[in-house]
C-alpha cells in the first residue's frame, strides 16, 4: 500500500505515541498547532574541536589560586558584570549580545566520544578514544532538522564544512546516521579561504559545457520517456527529483551565489579574517541568508593543540606550551571572527533569527599541569550562545571558585540540545525511528526556559 497516503506529520504523531487509538495523536497535534517557542530560523554551529579552555576564554577566575588562575588577565565587557579573558577584546565589546552557559557538563573524557555527544546531544554508549561511527549512533543536529523541518526553497537544509573531524578515526555525529543518507549534510571540504573557492559539485567536468550537459539531459529524457515507470514508481519519481535538483543547482545561480564568497566586498572579507575559519564564518552568514537552516562550521579538522594550527587540545605535549599557542593562534582568530559574525548578523537584522552556538567537546582542567597547560575537563565548561532567541548579555549557571564544577544551575549537555531544538521550533521530544525501528526522542533532555529570552 502507498505509505504516502499518511502524511508525515500524522505518521509521526501516531508512531510517536505508540499508536494508541485516536486520542493521543489528536492531543499531540493540538499541542503542535498551539505553537512552540522558537525564534531561530537558522543555527550556525561553530564547533571548536579539541576542547577550548573555559578558564582561558569565557569563564576566567581571576581570584583563583596560582596553578589554577589563567596566565591571561580579565577585562570588563559591554555586558555589565560579565568579564572574560583579556585576549578577547573585540569579543568583550559584543558580550551584550551573548549568553554564556558556564555550567555545561558530562562525563566523556575522550575526544571522539565527547565530540559525538556535543555534535548530537546524545551520550555515547561508551567513553572510547576511537568510538566507531556506526549507524546505531545518533544523527547530527542538522540531519534531525533536515528530517523534521527541511528547507523548501531549493537550498540544502544542512551544510557542513570545511573539514571532516577526525581523531584517529572519523568522529561520529557528523552525518545523518540512522535517519538515512538523504539527510546527510551537504559536505564541503574545500577551503573557503582559497582564492578560487567554489562548491566542487557545482563545477562541470572538463570538456563538458553547459550546452553539452543540456544535450545529455535531453537524451536522458528521451530514453526515460520510453517507459511508463515514472507513472507507477515512486522510486523513479524520486530519482527524477534528484536529477532535477542536481541540474538546477548546476544551472541556477541561487546555490552557486550562496557559495560565491568573491561577491563579498574585500573589506567584509578582511573583517572576518583571511583565515579558513574567518571565511567559513562569512560563508555561514551567506548560507543562512539564502535559507540554509543548519550550518556546521568546524574550527579545525583535528584536535591539534601542539602548534598554531589545528584544534584546541593544548596539553603541552612534546614540550609545547598552551599559553603561547592560545595567545598566537586560537584566541586572535576567535577574537577577529566571532564578534564580526555576531555584529554582521546584527547589522543585517539576522541575529534575532539566527542562533550561534560556539562550543567544544569539553573544557580543560582547572589545575594547570606540569607542562603549564591544561588537560581534558568535561565536568564543567562554557558554551556560548548568541541570537536566535537566546538572552543578551546574560550568564546562565555559575561555576565554583575554580571553574571545576557547576555551583548553580548545572546544564547537562542533553538539556542544552533540547533547548537548541526548541529555539528552532522543534519539540525535543519528537521521536525518530532508528534502524531497528525503535522510537527515540531527538533529545532526551529538558528545555531550559532560562535560556529563552
Amino acid at each position: 500500500m502507498n505509505a504516502n497516503l499518511i502524511s508525515r506529520r500524522k505518521a509521526l504523531s501516531i508512531g510517536g505515541l505508540g499508536m494508541l487509538g485516536v486520542t493521543l495523536p489528536k492531543l499531540l497535534q493540538a499541542k503542535e498547532t498551539a505553537g512552540r517557542p522558537g525564534r531561530a530560523k537558522s543555527v550556525i554551529f561553530l564547533y571548536q574541536f579539541g576542547g577550548p579552555s573555559h578558564l582561558d576564554t569565557f569563564d576566567p577566575k581571576p581570584d583563583a589560586p596560582d596553578g589554577v588562575r589563567s596566565h591571561f588577565g580579565v577585562i570588563d565587557t559591554s555586558a555589565r558584570g560579565i568579564r572574560i579573558c583579556d585576549q578577547l577584546p573585540k569579543m568583550a565589546s559584543v558580550m551584550n549580545e551573548v549568553t554564556l552557559v558556564r555550567t555545561v557538563y558530562h562525563t566523556m573524557k575522550n575526544h571522539n566520544s565527547a565530540a559525538y555527544y556535543a555534535l548530537t546531544g546524545h551520550a555515547p554508549p561508551l567513553d572510547d578514544i576511537r568510538l566507531r561511527d556506526t549507524l546505531d549512533l545518533f544523527p547530527a543536529y542538522g540531519s534531525v532538522v533536515d528530517q523534521l523541518s527541511p528547507v523548501s526553497n531549493g537550498m540544502p537544509t544542512f551544510v557542513a564544512y570545511p573539514h571532516v573531524l577526525r581523531d584517529g578515526e572519523i568522529t561520529p555525529g557528523q552525518h545523518a546516521s540512522f535517519l538515512g543518507k538523504a539527510h546527510d549534510p551537504l559536505l564541503v571540504t574545500s577551503d573557503p579561504n582559497d582564492a578560487g573557492f567554489s562548491l566542487p559539485e557545482l563545477s562541470l567536468p572538463s570538456g563538458v559545457t553547459t550546452d553539452r550537459l543540456q544535450n545529455r539531459r535531453e537524451i536522458q529524457q528521451l530514453i526515460n520517456r520510453q517507459t511508463r515507470i515514472n507513472e507507477y514508481s515512486a522510486t523513479a519519481r524520486g530519482l527524477d527529483a534528484y536529477y532535477d535538483k542536481t541540474l538546477s543547482m548546476l544551472n541556477s545561480s541561487r546555490v552557486r551565489e550562496a557559495f560565491n564568497l568573491s561577491a563579498e566586498p574585500a573589506s567584509i572579507r578582511d573583517r572576518y579574517g583571511r583565515t579558513t575559519y574567518g571565511q567559513s564564518c562569512l560563508l555561514a552568514r551567506r548560507l543562512v541568508e539564502s535559507g540554509v537552516k543548519f550550518v556546521n562550521v568546524y574550527f579545525s579538522n583535528n584536535i591539534g593543540g601542539r602548534t598554531t594550527s589545528g584544534g584546541w587540545d593544548t596539553h603541552g605535549f612534546d614540550n609545547t606550551r598552551m599559553y603561547p599557542i592560545l595567545r598566537d593562534y586560537q584566541l586572535p582568530v576567535t577574537d577577529q571572527t566571532l564578534p564580526t559574525l555576531i555584529l554582521d548578523l546584527k547589522e543585517r537584522g539576522l541575529l534575532d533569527e539566527t542562533l550561534i552556538v560556539w562550543m567544544g567537546e569539553f573544557g580543560r582542567t582547572p589545575k594547570i599541569n606540569d607542562n603549564i597547560s591544561r588537560d581534558h575537563w568535561p565536568q564543567c565548561y562554557t558554551v556560548l550562545l548568541a541570537g536566535g532567541g537566546a538572552p543578551r548579555g546574560f550568564v546562565y549557571g555559575t561555576s565554583d571558585k575554580n571553574a571545576a564544577y557547576p555551583d548553580k544551575d548545572p546544564v547537562v549537555l542533553d538539556d542544552l540540545t533540547a533547548t537548541v531544538f526548541s529555539l528552532l521550533g522543534i519539540d525535543p521530544h519528537t521521536e525518530v525511528r532508528d534502524k531497528l525501528n525503535r522510537p527515540l526522542p531527538v533529545s532526551a533532555g529538558k528545555i531550559i526556559t532560562g535560556l529563552m529570552a
Binding site: T23, Q220, R228, K245
Partner: protein, 749 residues
C-alpha cells in the same frame, strides 16, 4: 512505616476484594496509555512519575503507586484526592491530557482499588494464562457506506480456570494506521489495504490480520496456470485480496534482471541478443541454471553474506578478511548446504588464519555483540531492546537476553600478535588470534549483579557442557524451525527485494508474515522435504533435491511467475507492496552500478590497495589501506556514496538503497563517471573508430547498456544527434551518458 504495615494488614482482606492489581488496575494503566514510552513508561518517566514500560513490571509499579510520594498518588483515606485519579481526569493539570472521565469504568476500578487500601495481589490470585481474540484474520468487505467495520472480541483465561471477556480492557494497536479501533474493539477501516491489530493484555499480545477489500464487483480471476508452488501460494492470497498479478516480463527485461540479481553484472549485447532470439520454451529455466554455475554467482552471494558477517579489515586484518571471504566464496561456488555453512560459523574455533569462519567471532568482541548478532542474523530476533527492558513487541525478556548472552561468554581470544598501527584503537587488530571456547565467565545480569547461567534462546533448559556449548548450539540452532524460516525468507528477499517477513531480521508474533503458506512452502523446500513432482520443476541434475541447497531454492523462486512478473502494476494491484503481485522498482546497489558502468564502458576499476582490475563485487572487505597509507580512490568513494556498508553492524539495514543528491552529482558531474566516459580506449572509443554505421553503433550501445533495441524514435533522434556533431566520439559520449543516467539503467524493474 505505618503505610507499609497497613498494606500488609490489608493484604488478607484483599483476597476477598474484587479488584486485582495485576488483572484490573494494571490493564487500566495500559489502556489509558499511561505506561507508553512517550509517557510515564519512559526510561526517565514524565513529571517525576515513572512506571514500567507497557506494564511489564507489575510488582515494581505496585511499589511506585503505593509507596512513593507519601501516599499522594494513592490516598486510601480520601481516594478521590489521589493523584492517580486527579491527573488523568484533568482535575489537576496533566501534560498527558484527559485519559478518562470521572465515573468511567477506568475511574471506578482505580477508585475502588484505592479505597480498598491499594491491596496487593496475593500469591494465590489468578494469573493470566491465555488470550483468545476472535477473529484472528479478516478479509473485510466494505459496507454500503464504503466503510469496513468489524467487532473484535477478546477472552482471557486465568490460572484458576476462570474466563473473562476483556474486550474493553485490552489495548489495540495498529501496525499501519489505515483503520481505527475503538476502545471496545470495534474496527473501522479508513481505506483499503492490509494492517495488523496488536491486541495486548498484561504480558500477552495477539496479532489480528485485517484486510480491507475493494468492492471490485466485476473482478474476475483470469490468471495463467501457476508455474510452481510459489505462484500457487502467491495467487491464493492475491485472489482473496481481489488483486491480479502482473504478467510475466518480456525476455529482454528477464535476461537483464536475472543477470543483475544472480551475478551483479549485465549480459553482454551478444548474450542478450542470443537469448531474446532463442525460440525454445525452456530458455529461461536453462539460463537460470547456467547463471547459478557461473563464478560471478559465488562472488555475488559472498558479497551479500560478507556484509552481514562483518568482514572488514580493521578487526579481522587483511589476511583474515581474505581468508573469511574466500571461504564464503568457495562455499557458494560449491553449493555448501546452508545449514552446514552456519554450523561451521557458530562452532568455529581455532586460529583466525587457519579456520576462516573463526573470524565471525573475531569480529564480535563481546558476548552481547555475539549474542545479538546470532539472534538477529540466524534467528530473526532483534534482542537489543531486551537488554534494558523486556521487549515491548516480542516475547523476549531481560532473563532471555542475559541467558542467551551467557552462551556466548564461552568465547575468548588468545591474541598471538597485534601489530595495530593505532595503539589507541581498541577495535584494531593486526595479527593472528586463536578463538577459544569454554571459558567460564558467564555474563552478569545487571539487575542482580550475579552471573546468569547460559540458556538457548526460547529454550532455556537447553545448554550444552560449557566447553562444548557452541557445538551444541550449532546443531540446536540449525534444527530450529525459526532458523530455517529466517534462512528461506532471507533468500527470498535477496532476489525478490522484500521479505515475506519484513524486515528479514524481525520475526515476532507482532510482525507476521504477509503470506504464511508461502513461507511454509519455502521452508519445506529448503529442508529438502515436500515432493518435487508437485513443484512443477524440470528434472534437475543431482535429484533427489538435497536439503539446504541455496541453488535449488533460488531455482524454485526464479522459475516462478512471481519472480518474473513485470514491475508495472495493474488497476487491481497498484497499491500492493507486501503480496508480490508485481516486481518492486528499486535502485541498483553500489556494486551493481559501478561494475556495470565499468562493464559497459569497458574500463577497469581501481580500488585503493588493489591492482587495477577486480569488480566492486569481488572486493573481500571494506578498506584495505589506512588513511595514512593511501587515500580512497574515486571508485571507493562512489561505492560509499551509493551505500556500500562499512560492515560495523550485523544488520541488513546497514546497506543503503536510498537515493541522494551526492549520488546524482556523482552521475552528472562526478569525476569518475566522466573520466570513464572520456577514457580514449573505452568501448565508446572503439565504436567511434569503427567502420560501423551510426545506426549500428546506436544499436550496440542500447543492447550493451539497456539490454534492448532502441525504439524508432530513439534510433532516429540519437542517430541524428550523432551525425550532426562535429565529433562522433563526443556525441557518442553524450548518448552513452544519457543511457547510463536513464531509469532503465539505474533502477531494477
Amino acid at each position: 512505616m505505618g503505610l507499609v504495615f497497613a498494606v500488609c494488614a490489608l493484604a488478607t482482606w484483599c483476597d476477598a476484594a474484587e479488584i486485582s492489581f495485576r488483572n484490573d488496575v494494571m490493564p487500566v494503566l495500559s489502556k489509558s496509555g499511561c505506561n507508553l514510552g512517550t509517557c510515564h513508561g519512559n526510561a526517565r518517566g514524565k513529571g517525576g512519575f515513572q512506571i514500567s514500560l507497557r506494564g511489564q513490571d507489575p510488582a515494581g509499579d505496585y511499589v511506585v503507586l503505593t509507596r512513593d510520594w507519601l501516599g499522594r498518588r494513592t490516598n486510601p483515606s480520601r481516594p478521590d484526592e489521589s493523584l492517580l485519579l486527579l491527573k488523568p481526569t484533568m482535575q489537576v493539570a496533566h501534560e498527558g491530557g484527559r485519559r478518562f472521565e470521572i465515573g468511567s469504568s477506568e475511574y471506578q476500578i482505580l477508585r475502588d482499588w484505592i479505597a480498598a487500601g491499594t491491596p496487593e495481589d496475593s500469591k494465590t490470585s489468578p494469573l493470566l494464562k491465555s488470550l483468545v481474540v476472535t477473529p484472528r484474520e479478516l478479509f473485510l468487505e466494505p459496507d454500503p457506506a464504503s466503510q469496513w467495520k468489524s467487532q473484535l472480541t477478546v477472552a482471557a483465561t486465568f490460572s484458576d480456570g476462570s474466563r473473562r471477556d476483556v474486550t474493553e480492557r485490552v489495548v489495540y494497536e495498529l501496525s499501519r494506521p489505515i483503520a481505527e479501533v475503538s476502545p471496545n474493539g470495534l474496527v473501522n477501516g479508513l481505506q483499503s489495504g492490509e494492517t495488523t491489530v496488536l491486541v495486548r493484555f498484561q504480558h500477552l499480545q495477539v496479532p489480528v490480520r485485517l484486510a480491507f477489500l475493494e468492492p471490485r464487483s466485476n473482478f474476475q480471476w483470469t490468471v495463467p496456470e501457476p508455474a510452481n508452488v510459489i505462484d500457487q501460494q502467491v495467487h491464493a492470497k492475491l485472489k482473496r485480496l481481489r488483486m491480479l498479478p502482473s504478467p510475466v516480463c518480456d525476455d529482454a527485461t528477464f535476461v537483464r534482471r536475472i543477470h543483475l540479481d544472480l551475478l551483479g553484472i549485465l549480459p553482454t549485447a551478444a548474450e542478450a541478443r542470443t537469448f531474446v532470439a532463442d525460440r525454445s520454451l525452456d530458455k529461461r529455466a536453462r539460463l537460470i541454471d547456467e547463471l547459478l554455475q557461473r563464478p560471478e554467482f559465488a562472488d555475488w552471494w559472498a558479497l551479500k553474506w560478507a556484509d552481514l558477517l562483518r568482514i572488514e579489515e580493521k578487526t579481522l586484518d587483511r589476511k583474515g578478511v581474505e581468508n573469511f571471504h574466500g571461504w564464503l566464496r568457495d562455499a557458494f561456488a560449491t553449493n555448501k548446504p546452508l545449514d552446514t555453512l552456519v554450523q561451521e560459523i557458530i562452532a568455529a574455533r581455532g586460529s583466525t588464519y587457519e579456520v576462516p569462519p573463526a573470524n565471525f567471532y573475531r569480529a564480535l568482541r563481546t558476548s552481547f555483540e555475539r549474542s545479538e548478532a546470532v539472534g538477529q542474523l540466524f534467528l530473526g530476533a532483534r534482542l537489543q531492546c531486551a537488554k534494558c527492558h523486556n521487549h515491548p513487541f516480542d516475547r523476549w525478556t531481560q532473563d532471555d537476553y542475559y541467558s542467551w548472552a551467557s552462551v556466548f561468554a564461552a568465547v575468548d581470544y588468545k591474541i598471538l600478535e597485534n601489530n595495530r598501527r593505532d595503539t589507541n584503537d581498541q577495535h584494531e587488530f593486526d595479527g593472528e588470534q586463536i578463538v577459544v571456547h569454554g571459558v567460564t565467565n558467564a555474563v552478569k545480569d545487571p539487575r542482580s549483579g550475579k552471573p546468569r547461567p547460559p540458556g538457548f534462546l526460547g529454550d532455556k533448559q537447553n545448554r550444552g557442557a560449557q566447553d562444548e556449548i557452541l557445538q551444541s548450539l550449532s546443531t540446536w540452532m540449525t534444527s530450529n524451525d525459526r532458523f530455517v524460516e529466517v534462512l528461506a525468507n532471507r533468500t527470498w528477499q535477496q532476489v525478490i527485494g522484500r521479505g515475506i517477513v519484513d524486515p528479514v531480521d524481525d520475526f515476532r508474533a507482532t510482525n507476521p508474515p504477509s503470506n504464511p503458506e508461502l513461507l511454509a512452502e519455502l521452508v519445506q523446500y529448503l529442508r529438502g522435504t515436500g515432493s518435487p513432482a508437485t513443484h512443477g520443476q524440470r528434472g534437475l541434475p543431482g535429484n533427489p533435491r538435497p536439503a539446504f541447497s541455496l541453488r535449488h531454492l533460488l531455482r524454485l523462486i526464479l522459475n516462478s511467475q512471481t519472480y518474473q512478473a513485470t514491475s508495472e502494476p495493474n488497476d487491481t494491484n497498484r497499491e500492493d507492496e507486501a503480496n508480490f503481485s508485481h516486481t518492486q522498482v528499486r535502485r541498483h546497489s553500489a556494486e551493481q552500478l559501478l561494475d556495470t558502468i565499468s562493464q559497459v564502458l569497458d574500463v577497469p576499476l581501481k580500488f585503493s590497495g588493489y591492482p587495477t582490475g577486480p569488480r566492486a563485487a569481488q572486493l573481500p572487505g571494506v578498506r584495505v589501506l589506512r588513511r595514512r597509507e593511501g587515500s580512497p580512490t574515486k571508485a571507493d568513494l562512489f561505492l560509499t556514496a551509493f551505500g556500500k556498508p562499512p560492515r560495523l553492524q550485523s544488520c541488513d539495514c546497514e546497506r543503503s538503497d536510498e537515493t541522494t543528491l551526492t549520488q546524482t552529482f556523482q552521475m552528472v558531474s562526478g569525476e569518475l563517471v566522466n573520466q570513464m566516459l572520456a577514457e580514449p580506449g573505452n568501448r565508446i572509443g572503439s565504436l567511434a573508430n569503427s567502420e560501423r554505421t551510426t545506426e549500428d553503433v546506436v544499436q550496440e550501445l542500447y543492447w550493451t547498456i539497456l539490454t534492448r533495441s532502441p525504439t524508432e524514435d530513439e534510433l532516429n533522434q540519437t542517430s541524428r544527434y550523432i551525425t550532426e556533431r562535429s565529433s562522433r566520439r563526443k556525441a557518442l559520449e553524450d548518448v552513452t551518458w544519457g543511457l547510463l543516467n536513464s531509469h532503465e539503467f539505474l533502477l531494477r524493474r
